[in-house]
C-alpha cells in the first residue's frame, strides 16, 4: 500500500479529506470533524494496514484546536489525519485501543492544549509538573509565558490583557 494507492483509496471513501502528497512517503489530509475523523482513522487502521501509531501534533488554529494523528504502515508511508475541535467544547474520544502507543500523546494534549480526551486510563498530571495550576494550557497561542510567575507557580496576565 504505497503513497498513490493510499491517496486513491482515501479520496474514494472520504472525498472531503483531499488527500495530497507533496513528496514521496508523505500523505497530508485536510481538517475533518471528530466524527468523520474517527471513521477515517478506523478505516486506515483496519483496511489500509496503517497499524503503527507514530505521533500526535496539537496545533492552535485560532478559535479551535487541531489534532494531527501521524500513522504509518509497513512501507513507512506517513499518513497525517487531522481533526478540528472547537476550544469551547474540546471533547475527543481516545484512540487507545487502536493505537496503544498514542495514548501517551493524547495524555499530553490534555495537559498542553486542554483537549478533553475520554477513555484514557487514570493517572497523575503529565507532562506538566504536579504543582501546575489547573486550567492553564501553555501551548495555546494566547497563553504568554512572560506572565507566568515561576516561583509562586501562578499565572497573572495584566488586567487590560483580560479585558481585550
Amino acid at each position: 500500500m504505497n503513497t498513490e494507492e493510499t491517496i486513491l483509496a482515501l479520496n474514494k471513501h472520504f472525498p472531503a479529506l483531499e488527500a495530497v502528497s507533496n513528496r514521496p512517503l508523505r500523505v497530508f489530509t485536510a481538517f475533518a470533524e471528530p466524527k468523520a475523523f474517527e471513521e477515517t482513522l478506523r478505516y486506515a487502521n483496519l483496511t489500509l494496514g496503517y497499524h503503527k501509531g507514530k505521533h500526535i501534533i496539537g496545533t492552535d488554529e485560532g478559535e479551535n484546536i487541531g489534532l494531527s494523528y501521524i500513522i504509518s504502515n509497513d512501507e513507512d508511508v506517513l499518513l497525517v489525519l487531522r481533526e478540528r475541535v472547537p476550544k469551547s467544547a474540546p471533547h475527543v474520544h481516545s484512540m487507545g485501543e487502536l493505537y496503544p502507543s498514542l495514548m501517551l500523546h493524547e495524555r499530553e494534549m490534555v495537559d498542553l492544549f486542554g483537549v478533553q480526551v475520554s477513555g484514557l486510563p487514570e493517572g497523575p498530571r503529565y507532562p506538566l509538573p504536579d504543582c501546575w495550576p489547573d486550567g492553564e494550557y501553555p501551548m495555546r497561542k494566547e497563553w504568554n509565558p512572560a506572565y507566568f510567575n515561576k516561583q509562586t507557580v501562578t499565572y497573572e496576565p495584566p488586567k487590560q490583557e483580560d479585558a481585550k
Binding site: P24, K52, T59, I70, S101, P138, P145
Partner: protein, 407 residues
C-alpha cells in the same frame, strides 16, 4: 486482589535520583518477592517547554534549542530540523554538506552506542567494560571536538548545509581512529559472545516479541533486536544515504542480549560507512545561503538517530519564527513498551531493562502512565477504574483533578 496479597507487596520507588539512572525518571515497581509484578513509569521531569520556546524565537535561535533537546544525539536532532527547514524553503544542499553530515552522524552513532555499552555494563556491575568502552569513546569525542569545536553539542549543522569543512589531515585522523576502534570493537563483539557472566545477566530478560513491537510501535535497536527492519536510512533514504547503501542489522533474540548484539554490529557498520564516506567525499561548497523568512508550509522529516527514528515537524506561517515545532524523539516510542518489558523479571534486571532501550529522558521529556495489570484476573472496566482511583488517592494524587468527562 486479595487484601493479604496486596499488603505483602513491596513497592520500590526507583528514581528520580538513582545511581542507575543518569537522568531523572521515577519507576514505582510493585514487587512480589524479587519478581517485578507491576511497573508504573513516570518521567516528564525533564519537561522544559522546548516547543513553546521555539515559537518565540527566530529560526537560527530555534536551532540552538533543538540542538540541546538531548546531549547525546544532538546532531541527529539538528539534521532532522534542518532537513524539515530545507524542505519547506526548497533549498538544494550541496553534496559535500550531505557527506559531512553523514560522517558526523555516524561518528555520533559510534560514541552514543559506546556510551550505551558502558552504561549497560555498569548497570550489571561489570565496571571494567564500562571503563574500557568509555576510554575508547574519548577517541571519537576528541575527533568530534576537532570537527565541531565542542565535545558534546558540536553544532556542525546549519540551514542549507554545514558550518565546518573537513581538511584532508582531519579526514586522515578519522580513518586512523576508525582502524583503532574497529579492532577494539571486534574485541567487545566476541566478549559479548563469550563472557559467561555477561550473557547470564543479559540473556532472556526484557523480551519484546515482534507482535509487541508492532503493538507498542517500538523503533530503533529495540525493534531491530526483534527481527523487524526499522531503519530510516533504508526505508526512506535521506541526504548521503541516497548514494551509499546501508546494510541493516537485525537480530532475533528479542531481548536485552539481542539489543546488545545489534548495537555492537551497528558500530562496526558505522565504521564501514565512515570509511566509504571519507573516501568518496566530493569537493564543492559546504552550504547555501538560507532565506531569513520561511514561506508558508509544513513539513515532516525523519532521521535515524542512534536510538531510533526521530521525527520533526515544522509549520511556518511565513514569519521569521516557526508557528509550530514538534519533536518526536526515538526514546519516546520505546517507552510505551517499557512497563510490558519490566513485568515478570527480577528487581535486579530492572535497571538493565530500562537501560536496554537506551532511554534519553531529555529527548522524551514525556511520561507514560501505563498501569500494567500484571494480575490475570477478569475485572470489568468500572472495577479497574475504581481500583486505580483509590490507589492514587492513597498516594495523595487525586486523579479527579483531571477533568475527563465520561461518555
Amino acid at each position: 486482589m486479595s487484601d493479604y496479597r496486596e499488603k505483602n507487596k513491596v513497592v520500590v520507588q526507583i528514581g528520580p535520583q538513582h545511581p542507575s539512572l543518569k537522568e531523572p525518571g521515577s519507576f514505582k515497581i510493585t514487587l512480589d518477592g524479587e519478581k517485578v509484578e507491576r511497573a508504573v513509569i513516570e518521567i516528564g521531569y525533564n519537561h522544559r517547554g522546548i516547543e513553546k520556546a521555539c515559537e518565540s524565537r527566530n529560526y537560527i535561535q530555534a536551532l540552538y534549542i533543538i540542538e540541546r533537546v538531548c546531549g547525546i544525539c544532538s546532531h541527529a536532532h539538528t539534521s532532522c530540523f534542518c532537513q524539515a527547514f530545507e524542505e519547506i524553503a526548497g533549498l538544494e544542499v550541496p553534496r559535500r554538506a550531505h557527506y559531512i553530515r553523514g560522517i558526523v552522524g555516524e561518528l555520533e552513532r559510534l560514541h552514543s552506542h559506546l556510551l550505551w555499552l558502558g552504561v549497560a555494563s555498569h548497570e550489571i556491575g561489570f565496571d571494567t567494560l564500562f571503563m574500557y568502552t568509555w576510554r575508547d569513546r574519548e577517541l571519537v569525542l576528541d575527533l568530534l571536538a576537532r570537527i565541531g569545536g565542542n565535545r558534546v553539542n558540536y553544532g556542525v549543522n546549519t540551514y542549507g548545509g554545514v558550518r565546518r569543512d573537513l581538511e584532508p589531515e582531519l579526514m586522515q585522523d578519522i580513518l586512523t581512529v576508525c582502524d583503532l576502534l574497529e579492532e577494539k570493537l571486534k574485541y567487545y563483539a566476541d566478549l559479548a559472545l563469550t563472557e559467561t557472566t555477561l550473557i547470564a545477566r543479559l540473556r532472556g530478560i526484557g523480551t519484546l516479541l515482534p507482535e509487541d513491537v508492532r503493538k507498542y510501535s517500538a523503533v530503533g535497536p529495540v525493534a531491530r533486536a526483534a527481527g523487524i527492519m526499522d531503519d530510516v536510512r533504508i526505508t526512506e533514504p535521506y541526504g548521503v544515504f541516497r548514494e551509499i547503501a546501508v546494510n541493516g542489522i537485525t537480530d532475533d533474540h528479542c531481548d536485552v542480549y539481542g539489543r546488545t548484539l545489534v548495537r555492537v554490529k551497528e558500530m562496526l557498520e558505522a565504521i564501514r560507512l565512515i570509511r566509504i564516506m571519507v573516501k568518496e567525499i566530493p569537493d564543492g561548497p559546504i552550504s547555501v545561503r538560507p532565506p531569513r523568512k520561511l514561506p508558508v508550509g509544513e513539513s515532516l522529516s525523519r532521521v535515524e538517530a542512534p536510538r531510533g527514528e526521530d521525527i520533526h515537524y515544522i509549520r511556518s506561517n511565513g514569519g521569521e519564527s516557526p508557528d509550530r515545532v514538534r519533536v518526536r524523539a526515538p526514546s519516546e516510542a520505546n517507552w510505551h513498551g517499557m512497563s510490558h518489558m519490566l513485568e515478570g523479571f527480577q528487581l535486579a534486571d530492572v535497571p538493565i531493562i530500562i537501560a536496554a532501550i537506551d532511554p534519553c529522558y531529555s529527548c522524551t521529556d514525556r511520561a507514560i502512565h501505563l498501569i500494567g495489570d500484571g494480575i490475570n484476573q477478569l475485572t470489568d472496566w468500572a472495577q479497574i477504574r475504581a481500583l486505580s482511583i483509590e490507589q492514587y488517592k492513597a498516594r495523595g494524587i487525586d486523579p479527579g483533578s483531571i477533568k475527563i468527562r465520561e461518555f
